[in-house]
Symmetry: C2
Subunit: 166 residues, 2 copies
DNA sequence: AAAATATGTCAATAAAGCTGACATATCCTG
DNA sequence: CAGGATATGTCAGCTTTATTGACATATTTT
């Protein structure tokens, strides 16, 4: 995981104008803020029409991505409390986007799955985001995807070179 | 801007297991989600100790970065309403982190500045984020900074190649 | 003087999170 | 089998951050 030549340059920060705190990388901090704000705005518009919020988005997304997830898995992934999840999950189940199945081994568990409509919903939400990513990558140039993946992965807590998180 | 050989591969998405929606770039969607979640968790811890929230962070940050900003500027940047800003701004002023000065030209305006304490606060909040970014960039490899900047910039709405936003 | 603008503020509402407490069903252990 | 642990559900109340609507004040522009 460190196969490239060491870059010994002292983090030449390239601070934006107007401030000289030095060291602090305000440029990328702000870029991330705006990128994420707009990235999230695409699905927000769709969600609003259906009377849902971001919380619903996250739940549908992860259940769709990992079918058979348990409630506990979802809580772990989203890092929210059971009570917070409950309201949102209930609405999604009532709306017919997600259904539950008692665990085959452990019947206390509720395994979660997206319904056909849930899959379509998840897809509809992801599409504009994917489109935005593709456009940004294309504009950035070839090879951008790999670099961006590595960078974003490195921003995640618990990705400290040593690899396996959790 | 395109000095390298064209990459004609059809966006081979590299979808993660468990789903085959094709086309959708779930990998980067999720990477962004986790990256941002953890990126924001660093300052969150500091804010909590002082009884502030993310909203305060954003306000202190932008005022610190662009001294003399008006309230209208801030509303535009944050894309929130005046009433939402009011409470947060008031608390920051009362806490001595931000102060207002009537505009020299237009005295209806309130130009916003961080106090000495406000600057220190902004710096304290930005530091762990900057550190995280530096670590992620270093791990990604040389040249990552440029690529990441371009990508993140491209994710922002209204950055459609033509360049100058606003 | 009147209209427009920049800001402030009151009140009510909503979304999404939280804590605490407790109920149920199920599994595991002694 | 009894009792404890676990997975989930649910009730009640609270907090933060955002919203809309209405209106007040000061100032600038027309």
């Amino acid at each position: 995981m460190a196969g490239q030549p060491k870059d010994t340059r002292p983090e030449l920060a390239a601070i934006a104008p107007g401030n000289d705190d030095g060291v602090i990388d305000y440029e990328i901090i702000e870029l991330l803020f705006f990128a994420y704000r707009d990235f999230i705005s695409d699905p927000d518009a769709i969600l609003e029409r259906r009377g849902f919020g971001r919380a619903h988005h996250r739940v549908v997304h992860f259940v769709d991505r990992e079918p058979g997830m348990t409630v506990a898995d979802l809580l772990e992934t989203l890092k929210i409390t059971k009570q917070s999840l409950a309201r949102v999950l209930k609405q999604l189940i009532d709306s017919g986007y997600i259904h539950q199945v008692a665990g085959p081994e452990d019947r206390r568990q509720r395994k979660l799955y997206t319904t056909r409509e849930g899959k379509a919903f998840a897809h509809a939400l992801a599409e504009p985001q994917s489109r935005r990513i593709a456009a940004a990558l294309a504009k950035t140039g070839p090879g951008a995807r790999e670099t961006v993946k590595r960078f974003l992965g490195g921003m995640k807590t618990g990705s400290d070179t040593s690899g396996t998180d959790r």
